[in-house]
């Protein structure tokens, strides 16, 4: 299945008695009830590592676009109402700033590798600390308490997977701990954020800006306040959206299905 449709529930499973395997695109499996599927004897596979590079690239793209006001700038450059480019129209540099990565898995770590080349100071919060060599390769400093990361970061990037523990991980309290000059970037899942709290924080300038590849729901309803805020960039869940990666995802899903149907060990099985 691509994305998170169809909804996999009891009704669907009961109507498909011969279903042996669900091959899900991407790495996240938060849209699947793994216990339910296990109880029906249905295997699940995902496409974990192939999406990492493109998603990390997009995380960087969103951070840079937000900080340097790229979308606004583009609109100004192409607008028929623009007579001249004002000299005092300015953004903020990413280079040398502090990036706090929440969730230092494969994707989070790749973001750190990229951010290091911009001479960013990197903090990270994770369930467990990474090995010393991994930390020093990117100059990342572990923050056991997320509060420390939130208080010191100019950019907070969410790269956790969605679990009951990370649901609404960033809410009103966390947003208020962030600097008023900070930007939140979300390339994980919309539900990792308390979205209403985010709207309020952006409206009241508790944080400066947000750049989101993921929301809840996707797409947002047409009248949602996030769509109207000037200091928000939203992209339509394109983290892994390159032809090359999508092709590899399809190949991996096909391999998993073939193995599943043949009763062989399933590559990228989610247990």
């Amino acid at each position: 299945m691509w994305y998170h449709k169809p909804v996999v529930n009891k009704e669907l499973l009961q109507s498909l008695p011969n279903l042996r395997i669900i091959a899900s695109s991407g790495v996240g499996v938060d849209h699947l009830d793994l216990n339910l599927l296990s109880s029906y004897g249905v295997k699940v596979s995902n496409t974990p590592f192939v999406v990492s590079t493109d998603t990390a690239d997009l995380g960087m793209a969103l951070m840079l676009a937000s900080s340097r006001r790229l979308v606004e700038g583009y609109e100004m450059a192409i607008s028929p109402d623009t007579d001249y480019f004002p000299a005092d129209w300015l953004g903020t540099e990413v280079s040398g700033a502090t990036l706090g990565i929440v969730g230092m898995g494969t994707i989070g770590y790749k973001v750190a590798e990229r951010a290091k080349a911009f001479e960013m100071k990197i903090l990270y919060h994770n369930r467990s600390q990474r090995k010393k060599e991994e930390e020093s390769a990117v100059g990342a400093v572990y923050c056991k308490k997320i509060d420390d990361l939130l208080q010191q970061s100019d950019f907070v990037l969410l790269a956790v997977n969605l679990t009951p523990q990370t649901h609404k991980l960033i809410g009103k309290r966390e947003l208020e701990l962030m600097k008023p000059t900070a930007t939140l970037i979300n390339i994980s899942r919309g539900l990792v954020m308390d979205q209403d709290a985010l709207v309020e924080a952006l409206q009241k300038k508790i944080i400066k800006a947000a750049a989101l590849d993921v929301t809840y729901p996707e797409p947002l309803p047409r009248d949602h306040p996030l769509l109207k805020l000037k200091n928000v960039i939203i992209t339509p869940h394109i983290g892994s959206a390159t032809k090359k990666t999508r092709r590899i995802m399809m190949e991996e899903m096909t391999e998993s299905i073939q193995a599943g149907l043949a009763g062989l060990p399933v590559p990228h099985e989610v247990l």
């Binding site: 691509w2 994305y3 695109s25 590079t53 493109d54 690239d57 997009l58 960087m60 793209a61 969103l62 840079l64 676009a65 340097r68 006001r69 790229l70 979308v71 700038g73 583009y74 609109e75 100004m76 450059a77 192409i78 028929p80 623009t82 007579d83 001249y84 480019f85 129209w89 300015l90 953004g91 903020t92 540099e93 990413v94 280079s95 040398g96 590798e113 990229r114 290091k116 080349a117 911009f118 001479e119 996707e218 797409p219 947002l220 047409r222 769509l227 960039i233 939203i234 992209t235 339509p236 869940h237 394109i238 959206a241 390159t242 032809k243 090359k244 990666t245 999508r246 995802m249 399809m250």
Partner: protein, 233 residues
């Protein structure tokens, strides 16, 4: 007339290199286009190949002008999984190029082999109109062209044709001729051309530093003293 000229090199290297990479990523991942789809309601259902762009992983990046800004761009692009750096210019710079393992090639070869072309050279009689029909026709159909140097380095009509005919995949321009482009300019109508209003150095920190440097140049000049950064005429 014996008028001295001060300028502000060097202090804007990081800001401009950063903006070049930001522009490259925005163009190859179709960021403004995708953001517009979200706002306009064009994003209805999700499809596997919708809004797909081009990734940097295993790519070849060609830098036209491996000066301070070009080097800073290469440094920032390296961890994106770039397989190879090519560069061109008035002559090879082996010590500089060594940091990236970059190969000095003629302009034509750079066009033919690059997945991403970034122009960070100075505008001179030699580089004026350098990126023209011949250049774009050699580039790959899947390639992305980024210019953060000067508008006049690019033949804009030829760029338009290349984009409109699918000779290259996308372009990002921080600089054009003129700035801004006239409201009916064909480049403005292309979805795969991201244009920015010459904001390479446009950050509070960098512009402050540039302003202070400019003033120091001016004061030194008025006092008949050596300037921090004087242009040798």
């Amino acid at each position: 007339r014996g008028i001295r000229v001060g300028y502000t090199p060097d202090v804007l290297t990081d800001a401009t290199a950063e903006l070049s990479v930001a522009l490259l990523l925005s163009a190859c991942r179709r960021l403004p286009e995708a953001a517009e789809q979200v706002r306009s309601g064009g994003w209805t259902t999700w499809k596997p190949l919708w809004m797909c762009g081009h990734g940097l992983s295993n790519s070849t990046v060609g830098i036209i002008g491996l000066g301070r800004i070009g080097q800073a761009v290469a440094r920032r692009l390296k961890p994106f999984g770039v397989k190879k750096f090519l560069y061109t210019g008035s002559g090879p710079k082996p010590e500089t190029a060594a940091e990236f393992g970059a190969e000095f090639v003629p302009l034509t070869k750079l066009a033919e082999e690059s997945d991403f072309v970034v122009v960070t050279c100075a505008l001179t009689p030699a580089t004026q109109g350098m990126c023209n029909k011949d250049f774009f026709s050699r580039m790959k159909k899947t390639s992305v062209f980024v210019n953060t140097s000067r508008g006049a380095v690019v033949n804009q009509e030829d760029l338009y044709d290349a984009l409109a005919q699918g000779q290259i995949a996308a372009a990002g321009l921080d600089v054009t001729t003129p700035e801004p482009l006239p409201t009916d300019h064909p480049l403005l109508s292309l979805k795969n051309c991201v244009i920015l209003p010459h904001i390479g150095s446009a950050t509070y920190a960098t512009r402050n530093t540039m302003a202070v440097l400019a003033v120091n140049n001016l004061l030194a000049g008025l006092r008949g003293e050596p300037m921090p950064h004087e242009l040798k005429l």
